[in-house]
Amino acid sequence: MPEVAVRELTMAEAVREALSEEMRRDPSVFIMGEDVAEAGTPFKVLSGMVEEFGKSRVIDTPISEPGFTGVGVGAAMTGLRPVIDIMFGDFLTLIMDQLVNQAAKVHYMSGGAWKVPMVLRTTLGASRRSAAQHSQSLQAWLSHVPGLKVVLPSTPYDAKGLLKTAIRDDNPVIFFEDKMMFRQKGPVPVEDYTIPFGVADIKREGDDITLVATSSMVQVALGAAKMLEEIGVSAEVVDPRTTWPLDEKTLIESAQKTSRAIVLDEGYEKYGITAEIASVIATGAFYDLDAPVKRIGAMHVPIPFSPPLEDATIPTEKAVFEAARAMCKR
């Protein structure tokens, strides 16, 4: 990007700034969810917004996820741009019908007559000792559904730019935020900017192996890349940023260049995000790969509460490092 004024913001601040700027720009944008107003969400992501925009645009709801998501769909069909807040990604289980049978299909079923410009913000990620019902990363389900777009920002910069794109998009967009990243800082330009969907970002250039990582796993991949550097392995870290649309070209080209790839995602590994991306790479870079594409996701168990057990279920820098080292035969 060009030379612009930049300052450090946390992921939470970046999200809040994107929402606030879009709400100032467009009166049809509003926020609806549990404890979003005075409380500013339990993660304090929206702190201060109700003071600026008032209770008519930052709206506390009862604990009725299917109900207020459905209200979001109807509001989006009739001229508004709702931003629905689902506190924990685990609660997506409650709104799958509104998202999948309603929001995702309205445009197509009506032959293009109606559209649903709705953003659904929710969270992902374990390791907060929140146990099996508050720690899941369910992005694979939604990436599977035609009619939805799925965004997984890994930095404050990406979060702000992608969220603005999501709000301006005329389709239902599911926006996943990693709970562990809310306090993580990163550079964010002062100027208005957006980031297009379907464009992967190379977070680190490298020659020997490609580490494809989403959301929370980007930091893990970068950490592993540092460790690999020390043993002389140059790792490239590629972040798809959106799993739908998916920038297959960039992923494949990186793997063709390095001839090795590991795919990382915090969702359950089986039938997860890593399966699609690994299979895209295995096909697209078939004649260039020196080794099978390796997948690393969450262990196939409900996420346990006990710290030593929970830690064993999530991909770690060390695990990625070891896998990469083995693939590169060091």
Partner: protein, 332 residues
């Protein structure tokens, strides 16, 4: 247009253009549905359809109390709602046959007809699935200050879906201009509603502080009067209401449901047809009140028949969408 709905409310129950228009629209729905049944038995229509015959007074009585820019959400049994709100039969038949000229370019079919021009947010094949959408449209109308009203049509089977209670709570809390219309035709598919519904239906909206009424769904003047009251209430900013319309479907759950004795008695069907037919009830009233004589009514039916026949012909001769259209309209 507000005036129209005000007026219709005012003159409901007295003779009028409105009453004749309601007569005409009930006839149009019935003729439409009879053609649908034909198209199915002649194996010209893909899939199945759920006929509205017997319930015409509910959709027409309510939609005649609405402005064209008011919203409705509809159900799998939605042809009546769609016509009553102002869609035209030709593009509807085209949709039912999966043709390019259909309201959804053939992509939706019978269970998903939608029409922005007449405020129809769409039929829905998920029972109760549109309760959130209708409530959201009402939220939007209030947010935008347009004084539009949203009507959520659903069968009594949808009382089983928790979503309905979640959104009724929201509608009351936020005072939204939405009317929940429960079309109680007494059957959830093949099961009598008494086996699936505990307590008193009207106590359910009441529990959320929503004013509710029940009405004879076969008496269109009663339906229209009750609906007009509720529409006014919503438009004036006084929030949601719930209307329970007691009615009956003459045909099977869907066009393929022909031997029904195992779940309901033939006699029950014949009694409703003979004694509670909404078109007959209005006809008798129109004649008694001398608002129209038989020849005028016959003329209305003849006009309707011509329109419906032409619509079927249009749909039959119009082409299927080109296969390469399949990938369009997934994303806006």
């Amino acid at each position: 247009m507000t005036t129209e709905s005000k007026q219709s409310a005012a003159i409901a129950g007295s003779g009028s253009e409105l009453t004749l228009r309601m007569y005409s629209n009930m006839q149009r729905i019935r003729l439409f549905e009879e053609q649908v049944n034909q198209l199915y038995t002649r194996a010209v229509m893909p899939g199945l359809a759920h006929l509205y015959i017997g319930e015409e007074a509910v959709a027409v009585g309510i939609c005649e109390a609405l402005r064209r820019d008011d919203y409705i959400t509809s159900t799998h049994r939605g042809h009546g709602h769609c016509l009553a709100k102002g869609a035209s039969p030709d593009r509807m038949f085209a949709e039912l046959l999966g043709k390019e000229a259909g309201y959804c370019k053939g992509k939706g079919g019978s269970m998903h007809i939608a029409d922005p021009a007449s405020g129809n947010l769409g039929a829905n094949a998920i029972v109760g699935g549109s309760a959130g959408i209708a409530t959201g449209a009402a939220f939007s109308a209030k947010y935008r200050g347009t004084k539009q009203v949203a009507v959520c049509f659903f069968g009594e089977g949808a009382l089983g879906q928790g979503l309905l209670y979640e959104v009724m709570n929201l509608a009351r809390l936020w005072n939204l201009p939405v009317i929940y219309v429960c079309e109680n035709n007494m059957y959830n598919e093949y099961t009598h509603f008494s086996e699936t519904t505990a307590g008193e239906i009207l106590a359910r909206p009441a529990a959320f502080g929503i004013p509710s009424e029940s009405v004879d769904g076969q008496d269109i003047r009663a339906v229209h009067t009750a609906a007009s009251r509720m529409v006014e209430r919503a438009r004036e900013g006084n929030g949601p209401s719930f209307l329970l319309a007691n009615t009956y479907r003459y045909h099977g759950h869907h066009v393929g449901d022909v031997s029904r004795e195992y779940y309901r008695a033939k006699q029950e069907e014949t009694e409703w047809r003979a004694m509670r037919d909404p078109i007959q009830v209005l006809t008798e009233w129109l004649l008694k009140e001398k608002i129209a004589d038989q020849s005028q009514l016959d003329e209305i039916v003849a006009k309707a028949k011509t329109e419906i026949d032409a619509a079927v012909a249009f749909a039959l001769q119009s082409p299927f969408p080109a296969v390469d259209k399949v990938g369009e309209d997934v994303y806006a």
